[in-house]
C-alpha cells in the first residue's frame, strides 16, 4: 500500500506584486512533511519573495498558503510558532556570544531555563558550535555566522525550516560543511531551501521547483527534470527549462 503523504505547505495562486513588477505569479504547489524542497532560479526569479510570504514576512497580494495547517494570511501568529527562518543575509546579534544568540531565540519562544540549557547543548553539538559558543557572533567568519544563523533557526524546534540561499558567498569548504548539516536534517523536518547553485539543489533536495520571473516553470525530482529536458546533466536541464526549450 502506498504511504499517504501529508502536506506541510500548500500554496494556491500565491502572488506578490510591487507596483508594475510581479515578483511571484500564481505560485501553486504542495510540499510534504519531511521533504526537502528546493526553489531554484536565477536572480530575481521570486524565490526570496516566495519564502518571505510563506514565513509571514510579507503579505501576498493575491492567493494564500497553508503552512502547518494554518493560513499565512489569516493565522500568521500560529504559523510563526511552527517555522524557523535563516535569512539570506547575516542575521545574528553581533555583540552577543553565539550562546547568547541561541538563548535569545529560546527566550523568544518561551523556553524554560532548563530547556534552554538543554537545547543550546544539543544544537551546538549537532552543528559543531561548541568551540565558538563563547565567542562574539559578530567576530566570526561568514561561514560560522551562517552556521549560527541556521542554529538559531533550528533551536526553536520548527516543524518547517526556511533556508534562503544558505551557502551564498561561502567558500567551498564552508559550503560543504553546511551541506552536511542540511543533509543531516533531511526527513526530520520539512525544509524549503532557495538556491541558485545547481549542485546544491541536485544533491540535497527531494524535489526541485524551478522559478523564473515569478513563475514556477517546472517541478519534480532532479531525475524527473533531467528526463523532461532530455539531458543527463542537471545544469543543462535547468538552462533548457529556464530558456523555455522544454514544454
Amino acid at each position: 500500500m502506498q504511504e499517504k503523504k501529508i502536506p506541510a505547505i500548500q500554496t494556491r495562486n500565491l502572488t506578490k506584486r510591487y507596483k508594475n513588477l510581479t515578483a511571484v505569479d500564481r505560485l501553486t504547489l504542495d510540499i510534504c512533511q519531511g521533504e526537502l524542497f528546493a526553489l531554484l532560479g536565477v536572480n530575481g526569479a521570486g524565490k526570496t519573495t516566495a519564502i518571505k510570504m510563506l514565513s509571514c514576512l510579507t503579505k501576498p497580494t493575491d492567493g494564500d498558503a497553508v503552512v502547518g495547517g494554518y493560513s499565512i494570511t489569516k493565522e500568521s501568529e500560529q504559523v510563526k510558532r511552527l517555522i524557523g527562518v535563516s535569512p539570506q543575509e547575516t542575521a545574528v546579534a553581533p555583540n552577543l556570544s553565539v550562546k547568547e544568540n541561541l538563548e535569545l531565540i529560546c527566550g523568544i519562544y518561551g523556553f524554560s531555563k532548563g530547556k534552554t540549557r538543554e537545547k543550546v547543548k544539543e544544537i551546538s553539538r549537532q552543528l559543531d558550535l561548541e568551540e565558538v559558543l563563547c565567542k562574539k557572533a559578530g567576530k566570526l567568519s561568514g561561514g560560522w555566522q551562517r552556521r549560527v544563523s541556521i542554529a538559531m533557526a533550528l533551536i526553536s524546534e520548527p516543524q518547517i525550516l526556511f533556508l534562503d540561499e544558505p551557502t551564498l558567498g561561502l567558500d567551498v569548504m564552508a559550503r560543504h560543511d553546511l551541506w552536511e548539516i542540511i543533509h543531516s536534517l533531511k526527513g526530520k523536518i520539512t525544509i524549503i531551501l532557495t538556491t541558485h547553485y545547481m549542485e546544491e539543489a541536485e544533491s540535497l533536495s527531494d524535489r526541485i521547483g524551478i522559478m523564473k520571473q515569478g513563475r514556477l516553470l517546472a517541478i519534480g525530482t532532479a531525475e524527473e527534470l533531467k528526463q523532461k529536458a532530455g539531458t543527463c546533466d542537471f545544469e543543462t536541464a535547468f538552462v533548457a527549462i529556464v530558456k523555455g526549450e522544454v514544454i
Partner: protein, 243 residues
C-alpha cells in the same frame, strides 16, 4: 517574557559597544571636569558646578538617541530584525524591548554625573534623588527619537543626524553653555519651543528644590515625549509591515 528577553539583548548590545560607553558616559564627565576647571580660572560665574551639572545630565541624554537609533538601524540593515519578525515577537515587544533597557542606562548615566560632580564640589542634598528621577520624561523623549530615526534612516545617516546634529542642537538650545536670554530674539523663541531648555531648567529647579518651577517645565517635555513616542511607534510598525 519575550519582551524582556529582547530587551536584555538590546541592553547587552548597547553596553558592549565601547564607543557607546565612551561617548555616553565619558564625554559628559570630561565636560564636567573641563568646564568646572575653566570656572575656577575665570572671574565671572559661568559654569558653577551646581547649575552646570543638571544641564550636563540633560545634554548627556542626547547620546541615548544615538544609541537607540544606531541599534535599530543596524538591526534593520543586518537582517536580524527580518529574522525576528518571523518569530512570535509582536510590535509591542519590539518597541518596549528597544526602549526599556535604555531607561536604566539613562538613570545610571545621570547618577554617575551627579556622583562625579560631588567630587568636583557639587552641593550634596536630597534633591539630587529628585533630579535623577526627573530625568525620566526627557530620557523617554531621547530614546523615542532614536527609535524614530532608526526606523527611518540607515546606520550612516543616523550617525550624522543623531550623532552630530542632535547633540549640537541639544547643546546649543538647552542653555547649558550660556544663558539663552543673552542671545534673545528668534534664537530664544525657538529654544523655548523645543524641549531641551525646559529639561535643563527643570533639572536645575529640581536640584534647587523648586518643584513648582520644575512642574511648569514638565508639561512641554511630556508633550514632546508623548508625541515623539507616538511617531516612533507608528514609523517602527510601518517599516515592520513593509518588510
Amino acid at each position: 517574557m519575550r519582551m524582556m528577553t529582547f530587551a536584555k539583548r538590546c541592553g547587552k548590545e548597547i553596553l558592549r559597544d565601547p564607543i557607546n560607553l565612551g561617548f555616553g558616559l565619558g564625554f559628559p564627565l570630561v565636560l564636567l571636569l573641563l568646564l568646572s576647571s575653566l570656572q575656577a580660572n575665570i572671574p565671572v560665574s559661568l559654569f558653577e558646578i551646581d547649575t552646570l551639572t543638571p544641564g550636563i545630565t540633560v545634554f548627556g541624554l542626547s547620546f541615548l538617541t544615538l544609541f537607540s537609533a544606531t541599534l535599530v538601524a543596524r538591526d534593520r540593515e543586518s537582517a536580524l530584525l527580518q529574522r525576528l519578525y518571523t518569530t512570535p515577537l509582536t510590535g509591542v515587544d519590539f518597541i518596549m524591548g528597544y526602549m526599556l533597557p535604555l531607561l536604566p542606562i539613562a538613570i545610571g548615566q545621570t547618577g554617575i554625573c551627579y556622583l562625579f560632580a560631588i567630587f568636583l564640589g557639587l552641593t550634596v542634598n536630597s534633591n539630587i534623588i529628585y533630579a535623577i528621577i526627573g530625568i525620566i520624561p526627557m530620557a523617554i523623549f531621547n530614546i523615542a527619537l532614536g527609535l524614530l530615526c532608526g526606523s527611518l534612516l540607515g546606520v550612516k545617516q543616523v550617525g550624522g543626524i543623531c550623532g552630530a546634529l542632535l547633540t549640537n542642537l541639544s547643546a546649543w538650545l538647552s542653555g547649558v553653555w550660556f544663558d539663552l536670554a543673552l542671545v534673545g530674539g528668534f534664537f530664544e523663541k525657538i529654544a523655548d519651543l523645543l524641549p531641551f531648555v525646559h529639561a535643563a531648567e527643570m533639572e536645575k529647579a529640581l536640584f534647587r528644590g523648586d518643584f513648582k518651577l520644575a512642574g511648569s517645565h514638565l508639561l512641554p517635555i511630556l508633550f514632546y515625549s508623548g508625541s515623539v513616542t507616538a511617531m516612533a511607534v507608528f514609523c517602527f510598525l510601518r517599516q515592520m509591515k513593509k518588510q
